[in-house]
Point group: C2
Chain length 106, copies 2
């Protein structure tokens, strides 16, 4: 159950790591949407942009779940997707880090 | 019931007028979305853009209804909203034109 026990220092670090990944993904998404909007030439492109935003919003709303009971899985996914590096997770307990790393490789 | 009787010539003209209004509104919308995307600085702006697109898509899907039984109302709305000019509707029967104009002023 070590993955649901977080020391105060770990909580602080986890909060920062989480926010950093979120900001990165959001900034990347904003850039992508800007580019898609610039490339929009006709109505089908516009509705595709709308569909894209619907899907990404749904995905991001579900993904960034800051509950300590699931944070190990959230960080593993963010690591796998490249929004976090292993190095940035080193403020966490070695046990958690190993689990996150193992899950990210699955 | 004159508003549901359309001569072949009127049908042809109505089709062109309809398409012209649609194209105008869509081009204006694309321009507006581009500008909103450029102005997007944070996540809330992005989700506002998404909400905006959802609402506009729904509105446009409902508005551009090419059934002869409702076309008088569609043209009246497009006239009122400025996507058509009265001048462009002059290919239609005077009776229809008068109705469209009256509805647009309501």
């Amino acid at each position: 159950m070590s993955e649901i026990n977080w020391s105060e220092n770990e909580k602080k670090a986890a909060d920062e790591i989480f926010k950093r990944a979120y900001e990165r993904e959001i900034n990347s998404l904003i850039e992508e949407v800007r580019q898609k909007a610039i490339d929009t030439a006709e109505i089908d492109d516009l509705w595709r942009l709308h569909d894209f935003l619907s899907a990404r919003r749904h995905e991001i709303d579900g993904k960034y779940d800051y509950r300590y009971s699931v944070l190990i899985f959230v960080f593993a996914r963010l690591l796998k997707e490249g929004w976090l590096s292993l190095d940035e997770l080193k403020a966490l307990e070695p046990n958690k880090l190993a689990k996150i790393n193992a899950l990210a490789r699955m």
